[in-house]
Amino acid sequence: MKKSYKIDVDCANCANKMEDAAKKTAGVKDAVVNFMALKMNVEFEDGNDPKTVMEEVRKNCKKVEDDCEIFL
């Protein structure tokens, strides 16, 4: 399943870091952060609830870049 989320982040390098962090989160098959459109497209692994996975993604992103937000 694929879903798209709006994000807020200030710098492009931080967006890349968020992408890495999201990709490493359990339950995420693939993630792409589009800095210019301020969007994060996440593909979930089967059998995972996007909501709980995204909470984790958000936590991990906050870890690598304090000044970011994912609007769930």
Binding site: C11, N13, N16, N34, M36, A37, D66, D67
Partner: protein
């Protein structure tokens, strides 16, 4: 400016003013340090907090951490030497200015580009039973609903006109300024603006499936497909920052230790200062921001011109295109048959067309349609009787008492009329009156007026080879190819042969960097579109299959746009390369100068912030593609 930008701007100004004022305050020792601490903290407190959080979360090479180490280090050196505090504050100040500028520029171009693509309709008008018009969300409109579009409004959903006539402005979709006419029975696509008449439409699709939604989706997601340049930069940034940080560490300790061992004076302060300048240069932001920004701007500018590029990677491939393969019908030619020559024997041209059109009055054959189109006032007082269609030959009818036969050479042979061939290429329609040959009419596909210019422009844009593929007969194909000026032509191909041909052409390429583009009208050529390095579908508005299969979609069917698309991609990629070389180059030079002690903090700030500002401004140039 948003709230955050305003707040940061105020912080920057306050801190700068304080710093200048402090220059004239006669204080010394610890008091001076404490005074200077105020502007430093005003401008840099969030960086220090960020750095602290970075350490807590084990993010070793966090940007904030680097800036914090560099400035705290510079402050400490100043305390130690009771020297100049302004340098540390200035580093932080300029870093913040750079961040502010970046956020402002990116926000601005983000808005500019979304305005370019501002084709999303906000509402649809539905007529209620009492005749009142109600505005609803286009998402809620079911298929088959009647909607009303007033002059000046956008058509929200793909639909068919049921009542009213009007002109439509399609420029938001196609970049084409000529209005398109709409009358009952016509299909209209969402995103067009109704210019003058009130239209009643019956919707044929849901909003999410409508052209406008598809296009928006495509453009918004385009920059998610990353190009090789972007991947390179991401990988480079990953290596660059740690490398510079370790070099800084080495620079701070190895030379003084070596000097100490050799019995000299180590000058710890000098080497630490040099190491700190390294840290300031270590941020890869100029690169990381300017590359995606260039692509985003390039894609935005292209879409304004009616060229939809599905991803940064396709823009990159497009710029390397050296071979362009065209489909003929519908791409270089209009795909509509028209009368291109009339050669009468004994009556005048108009008379010949007049008779032919009468005989074909009731036929629905494409040839009949083009004959009638060439003689628009066909329905006059002439008596047309006893119309008889002879399969494989043509049509016979009595017109004003004369027996008129309109058909091919077989028909002429069978009635004994003496026909002769024509030197024009196309379908020849012979006409005989009362068994006596009266002349012939040539019908052929018409070359688009801009096709020749398009091939010429492609050559100018650096394309080596142009090839035309067609299922048509050899004579027709060679005639068209000669007229347009393509280099190679392959005719009488079945759709599957086109794929084989493209594969052969792909195998002929000299190296990987020479890409092959295939241009088709999206009908029947989806397999070829996907086989080529890059598939370009033209005139594809409303054709879902073409939008799916192609990598680049030209919204109108003007072949000149192919050259335009290539030029846009070249400009964008040259900006990308300029930025990569410029940013990496300046940083490396500054690192070298810093290591040798020739660069101070100020130069380091330029290498970081100045380079980023220049790169961002350069990236924004990719947006301006109108006059390419």
């Amino acid at each position: 400016m948003n709230k955050k930008q305003k707040k940061n701007l105020i912080r920057i100004i306050v801190s700068a003013v304080l710093m200048i004022v402090l220059k004239y305050v006669p204080a010394s020792g610890i008091v001076r340090f404490l005074l200077y601490l105020i502007p430093y903290l005003v401008v840099g407190y969030d960086i220090l907090i960020g750095a602290f959080k970075g350490i807590k979360n084990r993010q070793a090479f966090d940007e904030s951490l680097l800036m914090a180490i560099a400035t705290v280090g510079a402050m400490a050196l100043a305390v130690y030497e009771d020297g100049d505090y302004t340098e540390a504050i200035a580093v932080m100040l300029f870093y913040q200015i750079g961040e502010w500028f970046q956020s402002y520029a990116v926000g601005k171009s983000r808005r500019n580009i979304s305005e370019l693509m501002d084709i999303r309709p906000d509402y649809a008008n539905i007529e209620k039973e009492d005749g009142q018009i109600e505005k609803v969300d286009p998402d809620e409109v079911a298929i088959g609903t009647t909607i009303i579009v007033q002059p000046g409004e956008k058509i929200p959903i793909d639909a068919v006109v049921t009542e009213g006539t009007s002109s439509l402005n399609t420029s938001a979709l196609t970049g084409e300024s000529l209005p398109r006419e709409a009358k009952p029975g016509d299909e209209v696509i969402s995103g067009c603006v109704n210019i003058n008449g009130l239209l009643k439409l019956r919707t044929t699709k849901e909003f999410g499936e409508s052209t406008v939604s598809k296009i928006l989706d495509l453009v918004e997601n385009a920059s998610s497909r990353k190009s090789k340049s972007e991947d390179f930069i991401t990988r480079f940034a990953r290596v660059y920052t740690p490398a510079v940080v370790f070099s800084a560490l080495a620079l701070a300790f190895i030379p003084p230790v070596v000097i100490l061992l050799m019995g000299g004076h180590p000058f710890w302060g000098t080497w630490i200062y040099r190491a700190l300048t390294f840290l300031v240069i270590s941020c890869p932001c100029a690169l990381v921001i300017s590359i995606p920004l260039s692509f985003f701007a390039g894609i935005g500018g292209a879409s304004k011109e009616g060229v939809l590029v599905k991803g940064s990677n396709y823009l990159e491939i497009l710029s390397q295109t050296k071979t362009v393969v065209f489909d003929k019908t519908g791409t270089l030619t209009k795909g509509v048959f028209q009368v291109t020559a009339v050669h009468p024997e004994k009556i005048d041209e108009n008379g010949l067309l007049h008779l032919a059109a009468h005989v074909e009055r009731y036929s629905t054959h494409p040839i009949a349609n083009s004959l009638r189109a060439a003689y628009p006032n066909e329905a006059d007082n002439c008596k047309v009787e006893n119309v008889e269609e002879i399969a494989g030959h043509g049509i016979r009818a009595d017109v004003n008492g004369e027996v008129v036969c309109v058909g091919n050479s077989k028909m002429m042979d069978s009635i004994g009329a003496k026909w002769h061939p024509c030197d024009h290429v196309g379908t020849i329609i012979h006409v005989a009156i009362d068994g006596i040959y009266a002349g012939h009419i040539v019908i052929s596909d018409v070359i688009k007026p801009s096709s020749k210019e398009a091939v010429l422009q492609l050559k100018k844009a650096g394309v080596y080879k142009t090839v035309m593929l067609t299922g048509d007969a050899k004579t027709v194909a060679e005639n068209v190819a000669g007229e347009i000026g393509v280099d190679e032509v392959y005719s009488e191909l079945l759709p599957a042969d086109k794929v084989t041909k493209v594969e052969e052409l792909l195998a002929q390429k000299n190296n990987e960097k020479e890409r092959l583009a295939f241009v088709g009208d999206g009908i029947n050529d989806a397999p070829v579109l996907s086989r080529a390095d890059i598939g370009i579908a033209m005139g594809a508005i409303g054709s879902d299959a073409a939008i799916e299969a192609a990598d680049v979609v030209l919204m109108d069917d003007d072949p000149l746009k192919i050259a335009k698309a290539i030029k846009i991609s070249r400009k964008c990629l040259s900006i990308v390369h300029a930025n990569i070389w410029f940013a990496i180059g300046v940083k490396l030079v500054c690192l070298l100068l810093g290591a040798l002690g020739l660069a101070n903090m100020w130069l380091a700030i330029f290498a970081d912030v100045g380079v980023m500002i220049i790169a961002v401004l350069n990236a924004i140039r990719a947006l301006f593609v109108k006059n390419l």
